[in-house]
Subunit: 158 residues, 2 copies
DNA sequence: GCTTGACCTAGAGCCGACTCTAGATCCTAG
DNA sequence: CTAGGATCTAGAGTCGGCTCTAGGTCAAGC
């Protein structure tokens, strides 16, 4: 039963999160951490396991396309402590919706990509040609104004 | 049987693709189009249906995360005409793989997000609390160096 | 004849998310 | 004592992908 509190240097945290030390400092500076990292002698950052856990959450949210401002809002809510669970829920649900539709869009795109792959495969090996179908067809551009956005929200209309 | 060749102004193409006129000129300038757009009187761009179709493909590839350089390579291959189908196939397969793993990653992230949503839901309505499981758990940071990249390739090691 | 609006080119500016640099501090090993 | 390596801060630079501006041309309508 040793090791009551893990204490990691920024370098160690960088190693095990995959974030660069620069990014770690940047994240802290941007207020993405629930609490500003503890400092050891000489003003050096000392990370706890909690910090690493939180960073892991951050990384996953980032990887799913959550922009830093949203991450900051979330961190703020968590920092304020219990009582704002509704807001957190809203934020997470919004992100969930975002990720879900993003997956849907990617799946649609994949449909075209598979179609193209099939076409080229057939061209290169015409014997075993199957007939391919692309359900999100190229012909005739989308009637809906296309609204294909990789990011979060439409920022400004053109 | 009128209308043998569609001729659209850049504004019309912008409308029906959702790209801005700026983006359209930019794409052309960047060599993303199979052939440089025809010009009408006064040097104005005149788009054909083929151009629009190609742009639609571009939009889908972009929406699935293909970077402009890859799109340019693809356009170059198509421009060169028949004979390089292998290369096109390779390019498309690579992109397919990329999109597939991206969908996988997003699904993993979604797992955590759903978990969080569940936790907050329970907190706000403890009666109907279920037990939640997050299969890509927060506890204990990933042993693998995390390599969560939203974009295409690792550009430069830190 | 003049205004309006869509278009043209070349190039500057912007945004998000880092990444890198400079110059200083500190700890450890030789 | 000193050299090396990890850390610190503040701020500049980078990159991708557009977006915007300036300054100019052209056709149509009043």
């Amino acid at each position: 039963m040793a090791e009551v509190t893990t204490s990691l240097s920024i370098g160690q945290v960088a190693e095990r999160t995959g974030l660069s030390v620069h990014a770690l400092r940047y994240y802290e500076h941007e207020g993405l951490l629930v609490n500003p990292v503890r400092r050891g002698p000489g003003g050096r950052r000392v990370y706890s396991q909690d910090d690493v856990d939180w960073l892991t959450v951050c990384i996953i949210l980032r990887a799913s396309g959550m922009p830093l401002p949203a991450l900051r809002r979330y961190a703020n809510l968590v920092r304020q402590g219990a009582g704002n669970e509704e807001e957190r829920l809203t934020l997470m649900r919004e992100h969930q919706a975002h990720v879900t539709t993003q997956i849907g869009k990617l799946a649609e795109c994949l449909d075209l990509i598979r179609f193209k792959v099939g076409v080229y495969e057939d061209l290169l090996d015409p014997d075993s040609a199957g007939d391919h179908q692309c359900h999100a067809p190229i012909p005739s551009a989308p009637a809906q104004p296309t609204e294909i956005r990789i990011g979060y929200a439409r920022v400004s209309g053109s």
